[in-house]
Structure formats: C-alpha cells, structure tokens
Subunit: 360 residues, 2 copies
C-alpha cells in the first residue's frame, strides 16, 4: 500500500541548452524521447515514481511556458498538480514553494524531489532506495540526498563525501565537492568515500521549511507571507507577484552545503544526468556501425562514433564522419565533433549575439 503522505516533486523547468539545437528553449530535453523508448524523459520520470507515491501526490514544478507541453505529455495530472513558476529563480525558490504548498495541504507530508531529465536504470533498486529514504526522513530531522556509487572518475558531476553511518546505506554528509579535476576524481573514486550527487532529495515538508528558516530566511519569510493562501485561488496571484522578486539560488548552495542535518543515501542503481552529448552517446544503444541515432533513419558509410539527433522523421546519409554530433531541428543544423561539445555553449552565445532569440 502506498503511503498517502508521501509526495514527489518533479523539477521540470530546465531549458536544455546543452543539447541545442536538438533540444531548445521551446522544447527542452525533458520533453524529448531521448532514448527512443516512446516516452519522454519527463514521462519516464513520472512512470518511475508511480509505484512509490500516489498519482495525485505527484507535483510537476515547471516554468509557465511549458504548461501546455506538460498537460499534453501527462494528461492524467490535474491542474493542482502543476506548479508554474512565473520566472526562473534556480532550484531553491521552487523547491521551497513546493514544500510550503504541500505542507499547507498535508502537514505530515514527506517529499521526494527529483529531476525530470535524468536517466535511471535498474529501477527496482531505485524503488527500494527511495522507500528506505522516505522511512529515514520520516523518522529523523534530515535532509537526505541520494549519492550514486561512481563507476568512473567523471569530472562533470558533483561528488558527496560520506561521513559516519546513520543507518543502513545512509550516512552523514562530510563534504560536497563540485566538478573535480580528473586526478582528483580518480582519487575520489578509488577512496570509496565519494558518491555522485544525483540531485534527488528526500525530506519531510516540515523539516525543509524549518531548515529554510535557518539558512535561507529571506526565502522562508517570503513564503511565510503566503500562509493561508496555499491551496486557495489566491496562491497563484501571490506567486505571480512575489516569486519574480526572490533571489535565484540553488538548493545545494542555499541549504545542503549549510545545514548540519544533511545525509546521503548511498545507492547503486544505474544513473546518468544525460548532461552532455557524450553521456547521451554512452547511454544510448548504438547501431551496428557504432552510431547513435535519435529520431531518424541513417545510412552511414565509413562513419562511426557519431550521434545523429534529428527532429522529425528524416533520412541522414553520411560518409566519412567520425565522432561528431549532428543535431538538426527546425531551422538549425549543428555539426560539431563530440570532443568539442563544451564549445557549443559559446556557439549558442554567438548565435544569440548575431540573431537574437530566433534560433534558441
């Protein structure tokens, strides 16, 4: 039986600029069937928590501009389950809003916060881990984050160093470390003490609100002003008026790196943030010729190691291309070596300077 006091908040406001132009502001990554399964990453994230929380306890947090897309992709959601931020203010404000919103409705609530655009495999392990996490935070004043056992010295992720054991796989957090250099990442992985920061959080609504008062008091006091409004027709008006004025800050920086009550559950399911073309390539099935194709037919000659991501049914005919990204969507075509993908950000900036928002 699913505990009716358990909630899941799916963060769905990202703009997906790293996969431009295949994903772009009008159609970011979470809305794309990135792995060719017939379900978008958001839909997969939603499906994944259905065995864990009641469907009516799933809340989608997103930007206003994606409301239509959310309703289309998740038609079972009621309007009360979609929280639309009127402006982008990073993760702390929207997580705070969700906590206040849920707490007003259910003071006993415990919440899992999950990204909408990551890949998770071995879902039975995932499910067991989340249930263990819920039990822990329901019995402790704890902010719990999930740490993934690293499989390689990845320099693109944040790492969590574990401290003393609390119970089961759950430990006090010793340190958070942002993307390390390779030498450091190698030491991290070898030590066995460091885990990848997954961006999946669990806590009681009351716990996170209390911690916000302590470590992000401006944010907390803004939402305190709305007590009595959450769940009423006035909530939206309050948000429209006050949300754009709050400071944009990440939940990691606002809370996780400051609080003394932060724990990590060390887990070992398959995970990728799919944050780069490289990770998408690594996590996608390859054709016989070693290419990854998204949404297109490909005839590849002397071409391997490429990722072809095309919006709309298209035929790609490619000769003599190795280890490139080819991304085609609407009115933009990007061709870039996989090894140079970190340059795409600069290219997007150049496109903005030259053409404004037209192609973004």
């Amino acid at each position: 039986m699913i505990d009716p006091h358990r909630y899941c908040v799916i963060m769905c406001g990202g703009i997906g600029s790293r996969f431009w132009p295949y994903s772009r502001s009008s159609r970011p990554k979470q809305f794309i069937d990135f792995l060719g399964t017939g379900r978008s990453l958001l839909q997969m994230s939603y499906d994944r928590v259905l065995p864990i929380v009641k469907p009516e306890n799933i809340i989608i947090l997103t930007n206003e501009q994606y409301a239509t897309e959310i309703r289309a992709q998740l038609p079972d959601l009621s309007e009360e389950q979609i929280l639309l931020e009127p402006a982008r203010r990073n993760t702390a404000p929207c997580i705070a809003w969700a906590a206040y919103h849920i707490h007003a409705k259910d003071p006993q609530a415990s919440i899992m916060v999950a990204p909408s655009d990551h890949l998770i495999t071995r879902e039975t392990i995932f499910e067991k881990a989340i249930l263990e996490g819920f039990r822990f935070v329901e019995n402790h004043h704890a902010l719990l984050t999930l740490g993934i056992k690293p499989t390689r010295p990845e320099t693109g992720y944040g790492y969590i160093q574990v401290g003393p054991k609390a119970e089961g796989e759950i430990h006090k957090v010793k340190t958070f470390t942002e993307k390390p250099r390779l030498e450091l990442a190698e030491v991290f992985v070898e030590s066995g003490e460091f885990f990848w920061n997954s961006g999946i959080f669990l806590w009681k609504a009351s716990t996170v609100i209390e911690e916000l008062h302590e470590h992000a008091s401006d944010l907390a006091s803004t939402f305190d002003n709305a007590n009595g409004l959450f769940g009423t027709p006035d909530e939206l008006e309050f948000i429209e008026k006050n949300y754009p004025g709050v400071m944009g800050i990440s939940i990691d920086f606002a809370l996780m790196e400051k609080s003394q009550n932060v724990f990590v559950e060390c887990v070992n399911f398959g995970w990728s943030d799919l944050g780069t073309w490289g990770s998408l390539y690594d996590n996608s099935p390859k054709n016989r010729d070693g290419n990854v194709t998204q949404n297109c037919a490909v005839m590849a000659y002397n071409s391997t190691g490429n990722i072809f991501a095309v919006k709309g049914d298209k035929l790609m005919v490619v000769e003599g291309l190795k280890d490139y990204i080819v991304a085609d969507a609407d009115d933009v075509l990007l061709i870039c070596p996989k090894a140079e993908e970190q340059r795409i950000k600069q290219m997007v900036n150049d496109v903005r300077l030259a053409h404004g928002e037209k192609y973004l």
Copy 2:
C-alpha cells in the same frame, strides 16, 4: 535588330541527381537559384538569350513533370513555347522533335540548342560568339558546337579536337573525346588543339533534319510521319503516342560523332557545367572562412572548404569540418567529404533500394 528566323531551344529535362538531395527529381538543379543571384539557372539561361533571339522564339524542352515549374519560373512563355516530352529519351529525340517543330513553322529557321543548367560568365563574349555561330550555320551546311578554351586539365568534361580552320574562330572538328584521364587532359590543354564540349549547338533546322535522315534514320522517319501535324493540336497526341517508343540516344552519339559536317567555334567565355559539387564550389563566391553557402546562414568555427546547401532558410552552426558537402533539403540530410562526391551516386542507389522513391 533581332533576326526573326533565329530560335533558341533550352533543354530543361535533367533530373539533377548529382546534387541530391539539394536538388532532387521534384526540384532539379536547373530550377534552383544555385548562385544566389535571385534567378534560377533556367531563368539565367533564358535571360542570356533574350538579346539574341526574339522572346517568342525561345522554346523550352522539358519533361511533362516540370510543366508547372517552368510556367511559374518563366511566366512570359506561351504554351506553344513549352515542349513536354512524355518520357525521357536522352537528347537526340528531343532535339529532333524541336527541329521538326520549328521547321514546320519556319523552314528558314536556324536554331541554337542550349542547356538550362550551366554557368556562363562574360556574357558579351557569349553573345558575340552566338551571333557569329548563327551567321556561319545560316551560310553553311554545318552542325556547329561551341568549344570552350580550357583553363585546366579537367577530367570531368568531354573534349573536342579542332581541325582545319573554316572561318574566324570556327574550325572543322577532328575528334570528340569523352572524359580523359588526367595525364591525357594535361596533354590536351597544353597542345592548344582541344576545347571543352559545351553542349551548345547551332544549326539550321533544315540542316539538322537532313543530317538526322542520314545518321539517325529511324528517328527521322518517326518524325517524318508527323509532317503536317507540327504546330497543330494533333502534334501533342502524336508525341504522346510515338515519343516513348523512340530509342534513347544522345545527340553527340547520334549525330555529332558521325556527321562529316561538324564544326566547332572556339570561344573563351567563362563556362562551367556545374556538374559536380566541386565545380559548384569552385564557381561560387566563398565566405571569409572559405566556405560556400547556398540558401542559409552559417556560423563556421575551424571549418573551411565546405559547401553548405540548404533548402529553406536555415542556420548552420559548424565546428571542425573541412572540405565537406552538407546538403539538407526537406526530409534528407547528406554529409560527405567533397573528395568523395563520386560516391553519392551509389548512395542514392542504396537509398532507392532501402526506401524506394520516397527520398529521391
């Protein structure tokens, strides 16, 4: 004053498979504004002869499937000026048809036959050359072809070896040679005796009909059966019924390489058959970065020597690509090194085998 007995037949039935998918059977090369001038190659071919023949004496020879496109691109043409072949039978049958058609209307007619998809520069030299050619064929029983002074040992063209001088720049033809190997082409160019075969012909209608009787008697007797029908409403019915049954053969093979009355006018205007991506690259203006772009905006990083041909207004963002063809149109995207363009033909065949005519 323009001589009212002079005609121009523009051959416009090509399917443009060499530029697939940028040009394709539904929109072959001659209909594309290949050089970004605002006029298609066909329109440029039409414009080029307006100073030489009366507009009502310009005949377009094409395949039935392009009738709509021709009318759209050349709205000044009357229906009588468009000859629609019901089947593709190479150049000899359609040139024969045009000769009979024009001769029935004007037994004194002289005709220039010109491709619709070549590039010609230095048009005043072109104009002078054509006028000299008309004068020659009007005064001699001659099949005249224009030979272009070669500027490099091109292996993709046919060559004409000149014989004894007739008058001015006009000589008897000694030999025709198809695409030579490079060593041979180098000898050709050095000798000064060889000229590129331009596919531009001049002759009196009566001369070419007489020569057809001698060297392509089957073809001539087919059209002889239609005497009395040309220019009447019955002409079309005759063509629909009989044209598909004639043997497909080129005018070079049927006539030029057989007749004793073949002459070449040696000319020196700028010319390219734009028959390959390489020639299109060579003949097109380059961006600052050494790329050629057709119909698109390009932001190129560490990329040079490429040709980007895109149907529809599109932004290309390219990093680390050198000497490639990128051709994007509708539902096909081709990426191929310029040096491998001779392989595109095989790719098109593979596409046909795998997908039928859908992408051709």
